[in-house]
Each structure stands twice: as structure tokens, then as C-alpha cells.
Amino acid sequence: MSASVEDTAIRWAVRIDAQDLSDHEQRALDGWLRQDSRHRGALFRARAGLALVDGLGAEPLAEPHPAVRRWVRASAAIAAGFAGLLALSLSWSLWSGQQYSTDLGEIRRVPLADGSVVLVNTDSDLEVHYGNKARQLRLDAGEAWFKVAKDRRKPFIVEADGVHVQATGTAFSVRRREQAVEIVVTEGTVRAWRDDQPGRAIAVSAGNTATISTAADRPAASVAPIGNGDPLAWRQGGVALNETTVFDAAAEFNRYNPVKIDVASPQVGSQRMTGYFQIDRPDEFSQAVADVTGASVSKDGNKYIIKM
């Protein structure tokens, strides 16, 4: 694109974004825009480029309010019995919140009213309720990362599958797994506990990841350093593998893509891989597995099949 027009347009787009144009600048901008429809087009395009950066997973600006949905567990509880209702109403039952959902492969950025930010990962459901005493969020499926604005009077509590994670001002992610909840802390410290064991909270500090079992008969929790892997690479659209088995890595890609990877040979699936891949390139990953293990990759409809 003609360098000078595009460069000028980019400069103006960034200046407008800073929201402190002087009167003098405003006049210069108006003059430049009046000169040529191509100037107007180039500026519009540059502003769209900036919006694209913001919108990689962000809210559409046109949408005034996220859908507000009544939380329906209360009525289910009435059917289940009055005791159930009583127990539930003590915790989450009667609140209504804002619901944020993502599709397969979608990563959505949700700015919250207090300045906190949530990134909702692929195929996830998050409900947000800001009350007078606490900021309560519930992860009904998937994974989300939270950058929490400091507010000592209102703890920020994420609930996932009966596990509570509490922070004041910090950054962490919560992921629901089968029979476990995984927490990764990148800033500050969080406290985490299970519903049925409020007295046994654990503290997880920055640089650590905790796994809390949600199985009734296995109340175990473990904390370990994040190490060389980057469990939050998804925020940059990547998957970081660190001695990860091909089975686990394939499952990770399958969280994001409609085209699935099927590891048909156990001797390939149990091999370990290290490397950084784009989340939306199951093809590149499959090829890398083939290169490393000597397996072959074939495509069958919506599937990459890896086998010996």
C-alpha cells in the first residue's frame, strides 16, 4: 500500500486512540481527511486494524449488554427437595449473573466493571456476578484466566466444580478437567479450597500450578512449580509442549479445532514432544509428530490420523 498514505493513517489511528488530540492536531487531521477519499479509507482501515488487536477474543462493541440469565439451579433444587434449596441458597443458588460463552477455537476477552479482565478460553462457560460483598464468578466449563483489580473489601472468588479460588489483586487461571481443577498463578497469591473442605484451603503463589481433585473419594491437592512449560500459551494463540505425550498434546489441539487429531497407535501416543505450536495448526503438529516418530499422517474428512 502506498507507504506515505498508510503510514500517515497509522499515525493518526494511534493518535486518535490515545484520546488526547490537541485542537491543532484535530484541524490537521480534518484537513488531511478532506483531501482525498483514499485518506479516509486508509484511516478507517488502520482503526479497524487496531480494533482487530483489541477484538482478538474481545467483546463486540456493538453489543450493549451481555445476555443476562437467571441462574436456574434454584428451581431444580425445589424439585429435588426443600433441604437442597436451603443448602444451595447459602452459596450460589439465587444469584443471577452475566454469562460469557465461547465456541470451539474462540478466545474472548471480557473487561469487567472493576477493571479486572478475563480471558475466556475455547469452548468455555463463565458466569460473573459482582455483589456488594464479593466478586463471584463461576466457571461452568473450560478454562479462563483472570487479571484481578485490587479491592481488599471485595474478594474475587472463582468457583469451578466445587472448588473455590480466592484472590484480591493477582493474576491466575482456572481450568476444569475431568475430576480435577487446575490453577495456574502468574502474579500474587490465591487461596483455594473445596466446597466440602472449607477448612483445608491451600495457598498457591506466583509461578506455581495447583491441581485439586474433585473426586469425592480423593480429596488430594498438589502444588508444583510451572517449570519450563507455559500452560497459558493459549493467551498468545499457542500451545507450549514440554515433554508432553502425543496423546495429551493431541487432546489439547482438539480442544480448539474442528479438525481433530486421532492418534491411532499407542506407541506413537506415548512418545513425548517438546516445542511451541500455533493452536490452530493441528496439521503442523501432526506433521511434526510424524517427523519425530516416523509415523504417518493421513487426512480423513475432519480428522488427521497419526499411526505407525
Binding site: M1, S2, V5, E6, D7, I10, R11, A13, V14, R15, D17, A18, Q19, L29, D30, L33, S37, R38, H39, R40, G41, A42, F44, R45, A46, R47, A48, G49, L50, A51, L52, V53, D54, G55, L56, G57, A58, P60, L61, A62, D103, G105, E106, R109, P111, V117, L119, K147, R235, Q236, G237, G238, N257, P258, Q278, I279, D280
Partner: protein, 192 residues
């Protein structure tokens, strides 16, 4: 200047990613490189003048149709090409722009391609873009966080934005889109 946030957002999400294929189409139609830039800019200008985008069902088709009208204007003005032949060709190639389910799925991953561009930026530019993207920081807040002057943040943001916009200008490196690629092959065969 009217605040066109809705339209800007719409173009960001639905239009920009089709720019490489629009440019490729213009090039195949025989438009000179410098004229392609002009047509693209005029097309964006036209989109910026829309009062509402609610009525546009197929953004890609709308984008192509708008560019096509500027192309035809240009052909009439230049009188260098046999207009009928050119517009026939344009018609044939613009047929059936309805998004296939595959394209819808592809579109989401196309947006993610911008991640690649961001990842390849020098550290300073990348930091500024990521703070904006992930934490939603303003330029001022970014400057404070990184201990930079606002001018320097502005600079880094401009460099980063330029790299992103340029990734949409490269008509050779189109974003993979299964349905489109197939259509492309069919067309190429047809032209032989």
C-alpha cells in the same frame, strides 16, 4: 469526526481478513499494483460512510462488490480494457460469495493468524500490543506499566499496527480457507 466504533469493529472482524483475497482477485483481473492500493482505500472509505452495517449479511460479498464498482469506474475512465470482457470476468469471479460452513470455521482461525504476526514482532512492540490485547490497557496505562514515555508507546503501537496491516496486504500469502482454496483451483483450471 463521527465516532464509527461499530463500523470499525465490524470491518475489523468481518472485512480485513478478506483483503488478501480481494487484492489477489484485483491482480488477476489485471489491475496495476499502485491502482490496487487506490481501489482498496476507496473501498474502505465507502465502508466508512455506511450508516449501519446491520443489513449486510455477507460481508465478503459486500466488500468485493464495493471494490468491483470502483474497479469498473476505473476501467471506464481509463478506457484501456475492453469493458465488456473485463466486467464479464469480474462477474464470473465474484460469483457465489456466500460463506460456506467451512469458511465460517476457517474465518475464526484466520483471525488467529494475527497472533503469528504479533509473535514475530520485536519485544518492545509486542509488549505494547499484548498489554493492550490481553489486559485492555490504554496507551497511558501501558506507558506507566512499562516505564516508557507515551510517545514511545505510541511509536511501538504504530510499528506493531503497521506489521499487522501489512500482513493483510500480501496477496501471495492468503490465509488458508479450505473452501476458497478449492474454488481457486477450479477457477485456475477453467482459465487454462
Amino acid at each position: 469526526m463521527a465516532d464509527k466504533r461499530e463500523a470499525v469493529q465490524w470491518v475489523a472482524v468481518h472485512i480485513l481478513r478478506h483483503e488478501p483475497s480481494l487484492r489477489r482477485w484485483l491482480r488477476r483481473t489485471g489491475v496495476q499494483a499502485s491502482d490496487i492500493d487506490d481501489i482498496v482505500q476507496q473501498t474502505y472509505c465507502k465502508l466508512s460512510e455506511l450508516d449501519s452495517v446491520a443489513h449486510i449479511i455477507d460481508a465478503r460479498a459486500y466488500f468485493f462488490a464495493t471494490a468491483r464498482s470502483f474497479l469498473l469506474q476505473r476501467l471506464r475512465r481509463d478506457r484501456v480494457v475492453h469493458i465488456q470482457a473485463a466486467s464479464d470476468q469480474i462477474d464470473n469471479q465474484a460469483v457465489d460469495q456466500a460463506p460456506s460452513p467451512e469458511r465460517m470455521v476457517g474465518a475464526r482461525s484466520e483471525l488467529n493468524k494475527v497472533f503469528e504476526v504479533i509473535a514475530a514482532l520485536p519485544k518492545r512492540y509486542r509488549e505494547v500490543i499484548e498489554l493492550r490485547r490481553i489486559e485492555g490497557l490504554s496507551q497511558k496505562e501501558t506507558a506507566k506499566r512499562l516505564g516508557l514515555t507515551e510517545k514511545s508507546v505510541e511509536n511501538s503501537l504504530a510499528r506493531g499496527l503497521k506489521a499487522i496491516l501489512q500482513s493483510f496486504e500480501n496477496a501471495d500469502r492468503d490465509y488458508p480457507c479450505p473452501g476458497e482454496e478449492l474454488a481457486e483451483k477450479v477457477r485456475n483450471v477453467g482459465q487454462r
